[in-house]
Symmetry: none
Subunit: 69 residues, 2 copies
DNA sequence: TTCCATTCGGGTAATTGGGGGA
DNA sequence: GATGTCCCAATTACCCGAATGG
């Protein structure tokens, strides 16, 4: 289970649109290891939709109302 | 592993779907020598599944195992 | 044989990456 | 500490008509 964990891949622009941030910011998240990414042989990044959705759900949830985690 | 080492052959479209890129991009990878390719008598390209999966694994950064927060 | 999706080619826009700095 | 923006070079995406594959 390393490479293709079945799941669609999203481009930096698509992920940026979901989070309403600049694509560069998504790039920094990947660089910081906060989100997994795969690179095309040309160096462009692709993100797993499942992982993006999970991360998106965490941010959508109001953290101030979450005692733990 | 008979005469040709490897298993199934994938079409440009299938490889493109795995990387979430345009089939033309896969063609450029083959032209640039970044990925091995077989040509049909008619000139269409075919790619080895094993090589594609290996390449996919190498370029994958797995953050799923990253600690939370 | 015909039918139709895919993949040739090339050419031209749009995205992306990386560094630097507001 | 985290984002957004500007620069430029590289990579990728969409356009066409014609050919191949099954």
């Amino acid at each position: 289970m390393t490479a293709s964990t079945g799941g669609r891949l999203l481009t930096p622009g698509e992920v940026a649109a979901l989070f309403r941030v600049d694509p560069k910011t998504v790039t920094r998240w990947a660089t910081a290891g906060r989100i997994g990414s795969i690179r095309t042989p040309g160096g462009h990044r692709r993100f797993r939709e499942s992982e993006v959705n999970q991360l998106l759900a965490e941010l959508t949830t109001d953290a101030s109302e979450r005692p733990r985690n």
